[in-house]
């Protein structure tokens, strides 16, 4: 009897240790997906196929675009082929937020296209990357088992167009919130010209998503915006995963200007042309158009704005110096990144 009691005690202890160990495991994020009713029954349950995808050491479209795009190429490919993708971020030592925006958008597209792949994410060992994942609002999109502080004063949590539409929030309000965030975090007392131009640029980015970024019949149009204050200023990321600026503009240039005008249709030339009001007319064929992208370019030209970058299709474009780098893979969409600093250029 005594032996039996001791055995039970040991088993109980082992069980509580097991539970404790489980709790101590690092948090994982899971995309919440509905399990089809039939699959809940064991006799029809199919074997789950899981693909493990490790993220690069530097997981960033800004600092490591080719390797990062290869990861996303794999993600898109395996989304259609397996039941679960296990994103292993344990080897990632640094990360920038736009990759999270891209991941959210790809998951939303999968949902929209009825691709039922579950996503499990092993968070990075790097503490600051883990914090960024938690505080950015990423977990609003992916169910997380860790408590999240979504009210961090230095974070402008992820906003997106579909959520605005759902909760009847005007996109203009979101642009205004972003401007207020910069003013507050940089201690600016009035709306400078750079801030006014940031409002204008943001609203044009959102409108481009609405009007140009997708095919006419596309049902799913979305943009994502995120901001974070760091020691240099306030960094903003705006992203849509439409066709990309080059693809949209190339069609227009071919249609409207033609090869006869001897205009180079290399991706670098196209992005230059799109940002210059005098070189490009939009495909709407309506009067008074083609002012949106030049307005974004005007915003990027302020002294307050550091390192503005546009990534679209196979181009990574540094707007300040007009330098472009060709990438190995196609980035489907358009990403705008900038850092708002406190320089007095008024």
């Amino acid at each position: 009897m005594k032996k039996l009691k001791e055995k039970l005690k040991k088993e109980k202890l082992a069980h509580s240790r097991h539970i404790h160990n489980l709790k101590r495991k690092k948090s994982t994020y899971k995309a919440s997906k509905h399990t089809p009713i039939l699959q809940q029954h064991s006799f029809v349950k199919q074997q789950n196929i899981t693909k493990k995808l490790p993220t690069p050491q530097t997981f960033s479209l800004i600092y490591n675009i080719d390797e990062t795009l290869l990861f996303f190429d794999d993600f898109i490919k395996y989304s259609k082929e397996v039941d679960m993708i296990f994103i292993d971020m344990s080897k990632t030592e640094s990360m920038t937020t736009e990759v999270l925006l891209y991941l959210i958008s790809l998951d939303k597209i999968n949902d929209h296209n009825d691709i039922k792949v579950n996503i499990k994410i092993k968070t990075p060992n790097d503490k600051s990357s883990r914090l960024l994942m938690a505080q950015s609002g990423f977990s609003n999109y992916f169910r997380a088992n860790a408590p999240v502080d979504l009210n961090h004063k230095d974070i402008f949590t992820i906003r997106d167009g579909i959520t605005n539409e759902k909760f009847k929030i005007d996109d203009g309000e979101t642009c205004g919130d972003a401007v207020d965030f910069v003013m507050d975090r940089l201690g600016l007392t009035k709306r400078t010209q750079a801030l006014r131009d940031m409002y204008n640029a943001l609203s044009e980015m959102m409108l481009n998503t609405q009007h140009h970024a997708y095919d006419e019949d596309a049902q799913f149009r979305n943009w994502y915006l995120f901001g974070i204050k760091n020691s240099s200023g306030v960094a903003f990321y705006f992203f849509d995963n439409g066709k990309g600026i080059i693809k949209t503009a190339r069609a227009t240039l071919l249609e409207k200007l033609g090869k006869a005008l001897n205009i180079s249709l290399a991706q670098e030339s196209i992005i230059d042309a799109v940002l210059d009001e005098n070189k490009y007319r939009s495909m709407t064929n309506k009067k008074g158009r083609s002012k949106g992208m030049p307005q974004i370019n005007e915003f990027f030209s302020h002294k307050d704005i550091k390192l503005p970058i546009i990534i679209t299709n196979k181009i990574q474009y540094l707007a300040k110096t007009q330098e472009s780098k060709k990438t190995a893979s196609n980035f489907k969409g358009a990403l705008f990144v900038w850092m708002f600093t406190k320089e007095e250029d008024e």
């Binding site: 203009g172 309000e173 204008n200 409108l207 008074g288």
Partner: protein, 105 residues
């Protein structure tokens, strides 16, 4: 002589954006033109548009509101009728005048 003064940030919104209503948002250029400019255009000798206290004035909004009005009336009529105030961003007035003059291009 009768004048009408419209302060956009107060009577409409401080966060104006987009051309078409409701596709582009709640506070678009088309809505402002149809609700504030067109109904008053023939009623007043002068309409003074106060653009202060806006977060910004995106090209899509201003072109559709004022350029769009010039396409309905005529650029000269609109130039004669509308007067703009903007101490926050004085060059904006010239930009809007250009939108009106070039409305049919």
């Amino acid at each position: 002589m009768s004048n009408l003064r419209i302060k956009v940030a107060d009577v409409f919104s401080p966060t104006v954006k987009g051309r078409y209503h409701p596709k582009d948002g709640n506070f678009t250029g088309e809505r402002f033109r149809n609700e504030y400019l067109l109904p008053n255009f023939d009623k007043y000798d002068k309409i003074i548009i106060d653009l202060d206290d806006l977060y910004g004035c995106p090209s899509s909004f201003r072109e559709e509101a004022f350029g769009g009005l010039a396409r309905i009336k005529s650029p000269q009529e609109v130039i004669n009728k509308l007067e703009f105030l903007c101490t926050d961003e004085p060059p904006l007035i010239d930009i809007i005048h250009n939108d009106i003059k070039n409305a049919n291009e």
